[in-house]
Amino acid sequence: MRDLKAVGKKFVHVMYPKKSSALLRDWDLWGPLVLCVSLALMLQGGSADSKDDGGPQFAEVFVIIWFGAVVITLNSKLLGGTISFFQSLCVLGYCVLPLTVAMLVCRLVLLAGSGTVSFVVRLVVVIAMFGWSTLASTAFLADSQPPNRKALVVYPIFLFYFVISWMILTFTPQ
């Protein structure tokens, strides 16, 4: 029960990113796991002419999120960051929450129809959530970097959430 409360508190922290270090101090990977699995599940059932042309498979989403988070963490540590490995994984995983919400909204909008209006709505939602994710994770991670390398650390985070947003935006149902 206590762990569940901790996870819930972290979700709230991500949605309203004040400069708090609670996320960084008590890291846990339950939240990122739940988010990753739900995102990968929601990205299933995309259309495909052949096996080669469809959207990402479940394992691909998993690998992209975890491998991407590990690479970004290694990158920030190699550039001289002071954050620990699992703390950084924790922050990057939790900040996928806005994009998971965007995926949920996209799926609901696609139930209503898949015309131009639905595309515009999805585009706006995904862009907004992408900005939110990037800003939230930057707010948590930027302080642990040396000051003249902040941009070098923020750019891969931007790329990471951009790729996830692209996967969400290009999801087309059967």
Binding site: S47, D53, G55, E60, N75, N148, Y155, T170
Partner: protein, 306 residues
């Protein structure tokens, strides 16, 4: 108190002397980053006068060798060893990118920008960005080209990301490896060749791929002429960076081998660009349907011109 101060000063002095005698000693170089900008300014002033030496790098090759020995002194199984490859600041990365996009004729990219501080940040993240730029732009361009057709159903084509990643990372790491091996082999036969370390070659190749990122984004425009102009333009820019870097390394060699090496470098670079264009981007006027579609599509203009 006085004794402690004397000891501290002594240690610093001893460290400098020991380092000059034995460049491979394990040291902690705390003030390395501050030194590098000073060296950069110093060398920029030099190179204005002696451009040929700048290209050859004979005047500072000794210094760069010593600096290289100072930097990579941690054993390779420690984390600090790999941190030496990421010892760059934001402005340095931006300068290197600028140097790869605007090649100054007669200036050597390695001597001017890398200066014995090759980094792996630039090559790795430029390749990653390029992979996703090509995949996303290819997908978008195919979407716009086939937009008006009734039988077209959009697919994200996610498999192409892994193909793009394999191709680009293989190019950015295997070609420098082959080139480095080849240059080492020639260096053993012919003296007085400027030699680059493996990481410097990887660095040059990585940064030279940067120009392909805006090119890939501009390839969304579904006009064949525009795409080929872009290919030529970016090939000229990044090819010239590569040629100007490697020409001093091979020009002391047999004339034909030197020209063949430079030719191969440019050819492989061109193959990468053309191959990516051909595989990821559909041709704009491929099986365009009969003209009973309302002319609100941009691609209709192509058939009219042709």
């Amino acid at each position: 108190m006085a004794t402690a101060d004397d000891l501290k000063f002594q240690e610093f002095d001893d460290a400098a002397n020991l380092l000059a005698a034995n460049p491979d000693a394990t040291t902690i170089s705390i003030d390395e980053p501050a030194e590098i900008p000073k060296n950069k300014h110093g060398r920029l002033q030099q190179s204005g006068r002696e451009e040929d030496d700048e290209l050859l790098g004979t005047d500072d090759s000794d210094k760069t060798e010593l600096l290289a020995g100072q930097k990579k002194s941690a054993p390779f199984w420690t984390f600090e060893y790999y941190q030496t490859f990421f010892d760059v600041d934001t402005y340095q990365v931006l300068d290197r990118i600028k140097g790869s996009v605007f090649p100054v004729p007669g200036r050597n990219f390695v001597r001017l920008y890398i200066r014995s501080n090759p980094d792996l940040y630039g090559p790795f993240w430029i390749c990653a960005t390029l992979v996703f730029a090509i995949a996303v732009s290819g997908n978008l361009s195919n979407f716009f080209i086939h937009l008006g057709k009734p039988t077209y159903h959009y697919v994200p084509e996610f498999r192409k990301v892994s193909i793009a990643a394999t191709t680009i990372y293989a190019y950015a790491w295997l070609v420098p490896l082959a080139l480095w091996g080849f240059l080492m082999w020639r260096n053993s036969k012919v003296m007085n060749i400027v030699s680059y370390s493996f990481l410097e070659i990887v660095c040059v190749y990585g940064y030279s791929l940067f120009i392909y990122i805006p090119t890939a984004i501009l390839w969304i425009i579904p006009q064949k002429a525009v795409r080929w102009v872009l290919v030529m333009f970016s090939l000229c820019l990044s090819g010239s960076v590569l040629v100007m870097t490697f020409w001093p390394a091979v020009r002391d060699d047999n004339r034909r081998i030197a020209l063949a090496t430079i030719g191969t470098i440019v050819l492989l670079h061109a193959l990468l660009a053309v191959g990516c264009l051909a595989y990821f981007f559909d041709a704009p006027e491929l099986d365009f349907p009969a003209p009973n579609i309302p002319p609100h599509n941009g691609t209709t203009g192509i058939t009219k011109i042709q």
